[in-house]
């Protein structure tokens, strides 16, 4: 019995270390080549999945072995308070514009994502996951768990939303006539969270500040608004 748990601990350690090493290696690569598409989370997942299939490790086994890593998401949510504090001055000055815009935008897109998924795919858990894809990973995953969505679909959707907005956002916004740097970075922070913020932060400090401001405020607004909105939508569906 003791032997079994010892080998469990060893296996768990190996998987945690392996996950961290792969992630760090891709993070280093991204830093070196400075390309948004070299997303360490996406690439690490792309390496781990074939490996697990090859070694015949089930997802449940991997997930329980690496549980300490998943639990780190909770302190990561608390850590978001720091940039919020850094931007307090800007938030006070511009609150009357930024908060209503982000609140409205967030609600419209939650409704739209939920409705599109229900009509096209018709699986409620997936609809919950896709509704929560515009926020930063720790908040998105926490809300998905709370609202009975599917956390792995949420994680996947969050990365894609980040890549779409981070890579194509600036040229799309130019194309539709949104030229002000503040408006551009606000939009990208709201739609593409940390990934979008990382890619526009290279342009200027102002871009970095407005994008991370939008990322934090939309995360907070989503955390406040999405539970009642999604519960309402789910109830509405079951009553039809």
């Amino acid at each position: 019995m003791t032997e079994l748990s010892l080998s469990d601990i060893a296996a768990s350690l190996v998987m945690v270390l392996f996950t961290l090493i792969i992630y760090q290696a891709f993070a280093w690569l991204q830093k070196k080549f400075n390309q948004a598409w070299l997303n360490p989370m996406l690439l690490a997942i792309a390496v781990i999945i074939p490996l697990m299939l090859y070694l015949e490790i089930s997802f449940e086994h991997y997930y329980s072995a690496t549980l300490p890593l998943s639990q780190l998401l909770e302190p990561a949510v608390v850590a978001l308070g720091f940039p919020l504090y850094q931007h307090l001055k800007t938030i006070r000055q511009q609150a009357k514009f930024i908060i209503p815009i982000l609140a409205l935008g967030t609600m419209i897109v939650i409704l739209l994502s939920f409705a599109m998924t229900v009509f096209l795919i018709a699986i409620p858990e997936i609809a919950v996951s896709l509704s929560l894809k515009s926020v930063t990973t720790p908040i998105g995953i926490a809300l998905t768990e709370q609202l009975k969505g599917d956390t792995s679909i949420t994680a996947f959707a969050i990365i894609l939303a980040g890549l779409f907005g981070g890579l194509l956002g600036p040229s799309w916004l130019h194309f539709i006539g949104v030229d002000s740097p503040k408006a551009q970075s606000l939009a990208i922070g709201a739609a593409s969270h940390a990934l979008g913020t990382a890619s526009v932060s290279k342009i200027s400090h102002q871009h970095a500040a407005y994008s991370s401001l939008a990322l934090i405020l939309s995360a907070v607004l989503t955390a406040i608004l999405s539970p009642s909105l999604i519960i309402m939508l789910t109830n509405f569906l079951t009553n039809i």
Partner: protein, 59 residues
């Protein structure tokens, strides 16, 4: 990240609905970009008209 690896259990879902899934994410992300960008630019311009616009009004 461990949550992302869970996509492994959704092979059937991705094969059946993968394209729709990605399309929904794509469309709604661009809707949010467009709404936020246009709304903020519009409101800020209305509040503080750019220099050139004010000058034109005076002359």
């Amino acid at each position: 990240m461990p949550a992302g690896v869970g996509i492994i259990n959704h092979y059937d879902l991705l094969r059946q609905h993968g394209f729709t899934l990605v399309a929904i994410i794509f469309v709604t992300t661009f809707v949010l970009l467009t709404l936020t960008g246009l709304a903020y630019q519009h409101l800020v311009r209305k509040e503080q008209p750019p220099e050139s616009a004010t000058n034109r009004q005076i002359s």
